[in-house]
Subunit: 180 residues, 3 copies
């Protein structure tokens, strides 16, 4: 690859890396297992509270864990990214909080919010920027049991079941129209 | 309009669309009814939990609803936007949470936080990007009664009364100085 | 300084100002006193709930206040910035929420979340954009006592002690590798 002609500029790199962090959240919240896996390199590694291993094992772990809940929402905040001088790798830190809700509503194990920092080591690959190693550092944890409620809709419940997307998400519907 | 000469570039489009979502939040939190209306096209439509209709009716609905509370704060997070190939329309999804507080403080109807996704269909108009159709999808709801408190200042209370802006907001004051 | 040749463009100004707000949060959450001070001009001023004064006094105030807690996390959301016509000054508003946790966990003084707006007056200096005057407007306050928990790790506890960084933060470790 020619270094100067075919590569995007710095701001495009930064935009793509940020977009990948967003894509990860979207995939987790929709139980889109392939979408989660796609954010990592082939040899990607993840470190979470309660998990350390490669990206395939991480997705398998999430497949067991997430369907116990009715839903999750990963909301990102402060994002800082530094590119290496050769722009073939990067490091970013992203603050966020994840709301988790489940049934029964008074279960602290199923109804809580966690504050975290994703500290990610990125590699530029032929398919774009991918996470080579993620450290998900938990900062705080808040028990929301007895106070948190998910939507009562059939759609939301269906989405909670792995592999059962239920009615299509309105964002996907609008995207299809846009591109159709 | 000449397609190539007078239009901003893609990144400017994306910036303007994001700025409009922010402007919506600011207008709602300040009970700036005209500001809320201005984010939608003339024939704009909004779908909220508890409301479906055109933008005029939506603003009228908010005018009845919001003054019951002492304040709201709409905090945005993950924002993803896709432009149509001709860049005359776009679709975005924006995660956010809205904190609502009111008196008495132990009322669950007046003191809660909601997690939502704004899924917006955008059109480029002569006046800039506007929402043609918004789907405000509620993801979760947390009862914060007995724990949440707004500021005790007269300014905050005054802002809660529609059409009674109270003392000018410090951000507006600084903006005026900047441009003065 | 030549106005047109050596200055970054508008979008770079906006990016740098946003990065400074992020840097402030990072410094506060890590008790990096010099890092906090560096965000303000030499004659910078800060207005917080419970504090009004110059930046040196503000840092001294934080040095007394923050070590009482086990940790804080300042998460930013909506950010709006307007540059003056000559681009030598700017005004921004940044929404955010700060989670505070401490021991004992049932203390409302040590375990709470606050919603705020940073309203900042910026000046371009020889060292980059700096805050000349900050108004930290508190919007709401939520008592999280009895529900909020920080990490149990020695690292987190060590970080809580001023001047005792404990084990190096993983983000700093990765940044060092990137640049090494």
């Amino acid at each position: 690859m020619s270094q100067n002609e075919t590569r995007p500029d710095r701001s495009e790199d930064l935009h793509e890396i940020h977009a990948q962090v967003l894509a990860y959240c979207r995939a987790v919240d929709r139980r889109d297992w392939d979408g989660i896996r796609a954010v990592y390199t082939a040899d990607g590694v993840d470190h979470h509270t309660g998990f350390d291993g490669d990206a395939d094992a991480y997705v398998a772990w999430l497949k067991r864990l997430l369907p116990r809940m009715d839903g999750t929402m990963h909301m990102l905040a402060n994002h800082t990214c530094r590119l290496a001088a050769d722009r073939m790798s990067a490091v970013s830190e992203t603050y966020g909080q994840a709301v988790h809700w489940g049934t029964p509503g008074d279960s602290p194990q199923l109804n809580f919010t966690s504050g975290f920092r994703y500290v990610d080591h990125w590699l530029r690959t032929e398919d774009g920027w991918r996470i080579r190693e993620r450290f998900a550092v938990r900062e705080w944890h808040r028990d929301d049991s007895g106070r948190l409620h998910g939507p009562a809709s059939a759609k939301a419940k269906a989405r909670a079941e792995a592999g059962q997307p239920g009615e299509p998400d309105i964002f996907d519907v609008l995207l299809t129209r846009l591109e159709g």
